[in-house]
């Protein structure tokens, strides 16, 4: 049983909805920061991004190598499982198609892992065909550490916890290996349009 708190609406939950808003979400102008740990400070001088295949083969990029790859700018709506959505966010970075182009793999899944220890799992196909990026610039500015800088994953068609902050690599796997939040009650796939928030949704 719970008593109502007169006049309490939570943080910004306006009534107007839009077709761009997945079920159960509300739009926000701000860019909330959710943290599951201390913010890692990763200098670009020592930053690397490594893709490790199921055979143990490694493909690594330094910061300079990564920024020398073809860059893409794209605009997306992003949806956080804590119910905020943010429209028209503008990012710059490298398509995962570019990073995975020369990687020889038959893996079906990927685990993104981050500086600081965070992990999240995705089907490999959700990272391909123009659906995912390794981004380092937000709104024309270098991505701040709070938002995952120097570089984070951007997978806008899934809930935003899949867009791992401070990402340092991908491990390609034959079997699906649930990550940090997926092992603790969150949905394994996380499609905002099917409202796959929690385990069993």
């Amino acid at each position: 049983m719970s008593s109502l708190s007169p006049g309490f609406h939570g943080r910004g939950r306006p009534a107007s909805l839009s077709e761009r808003l997945p079920p159960g979400q509300y739009p926000t102008e701000s860019f909330p920061v959710l943290s599951a740990g201390p913010t890692p400070r990763v200098p670009t001088e020592t930053w690397t991004f490594t893709v490790t295949t199921e055979a143990g083969e490694e493909h690594s990029w330094t910061w300079d190598e990564m920024t020398a790859l073809p860059q893409e700018e794209s605009v997306h709506d992003i949806h956080c499982v804590t119910r905020w959505s943010k429209f028209d966010t503008r990012w710059r970075g490298v398509s995962l198609d570019t990073l995975l182009a020369d990687v020889d793999t038959a893996a079906e899944y990927a685990v993104a892992h981050s500086y600081g220890g965070y992990t999240t799992n995705l089907p490999l196909e959700d990272l391909l065909d123009g659906k995912a990026w390794l981004v380092h610039t937000y709104d024309d500015y270098p991505l701040s550490p709070e938002h995952g800088g120097p570089a984070r994953l951007l997978v806008p068609h899934l809930y935003f916890w899949k867009s791992a902050k401070w990402v340092r690599g991908l491990r390609l796997t034959q079997d699906d290996e649930p990550g940090f939040w997926e092992t603790a009650g969150y949905h394994n796939y996380g499609d905002p349009w099917r409202e796959q928030r929690h385990w069993g949704d």
Partner: protein
């Protein structure tokens, strides 16, 4: 058995600073609490959305009455509502009392050092009041760091410190006229005289924003205080 959520009605709201209030709630069936404990307060919006946050109890148990200290945080979801909007007579839910570690118990007789940063003074005030009420316990010292005089909680009550309560207020941004200490953050020199008056068995309670607690705990340990005698509580 889980600790139940119970209804609590707001009966009084008192200004502490421009952005901080004392809230007095009436929670029928309240089981009582220890100085230093906190409660979780839960709000429910009309669409069923709920948000819960922890708030320290500012005074010893008084029947069904609870006194909470709430600092409104910019952009906060719960505290601005509690500080400015919750109508007198309206109900929230509370769960508690919570936490048996950051507490002072009436049987404790060792000297106590309280170190407060901003609204971190709230649970420490409960300890000061509990000690006064029970008229037991060793000498208390309070080192209280605030930005300036307008940020001081419990202004009159702390000014009336007795022989067993030594209060030192440190101003970090602006010291009032006539202050002997220049405005500035807590330093080892501020803690040296108070730490030297603690016996080895003395207990230190530190409460405040995370950065303040970490600085204070580090200064205390490097000034020779046994880390096992330091208890901390952070409020983010």
């Amino acid at each position: 058995m889980p600790i139940p959520w119970r209804s609590a009605r707001l009966v009084k709201r008192e200004d502490q600073t421009a952005s901080a209030r004392t809230l007095v709630l009436e929670a029928p069936g309240w089981p009582g609490h220890l100085a230093g404990q906190h409660v979780d307060v839960r709000l429910t919006a009309d669409d069923g959305y709920q948000a819960a946050r922890s708030y320290s109890l500012a005074a010893p148990a008084d029947g069904d009455r609870l006194e909470l200290g709430v600092q409104s945080t910019a952009g906060g979801e719960v505290s601005p509502y509690l500080v400015h909007d919750l109508p007198i007579g309206a109900e929230v839910e509370v769960r508690g009392p919570l936490g048996n570690w950051f507490v002072w118990r009436a049987g404790q007789s060792e000297p106590v050092l309280l170190v407060a940063g901003g609204s971190g003074v709230v649970p420490l005030m409960a300890m000061i009041r509990a000690r006064r009420q029970t008229a037991t316990g060793g000498p208390f010292q309070l080192v209280y760091s605030v930005r300036g005089e307008p940020d001081l909680w419990y202004h009159d009550e702390l000014r009336a410190d007795g022989p067993d309560l030594d209060v030192r207020v440190l101003y970090t941004r602006q010291a009032p006229p006539g202050s002997t200490r220049a405005a500035g953050r807590l330093t080892a020199a501020d803690l040296e005289p108070v730490v030297s008056r603690l016996t080895p068995a003395g207990t230190v309670y530190v409460c405040g924003p995370t950065a303040f607690v970490e600085t204070a705990a580090e200064l205390l340990t490097s000034s020779g205080q046994n880390p096992a005698r330091i208890r901390t509580e952070r409020f983010g």
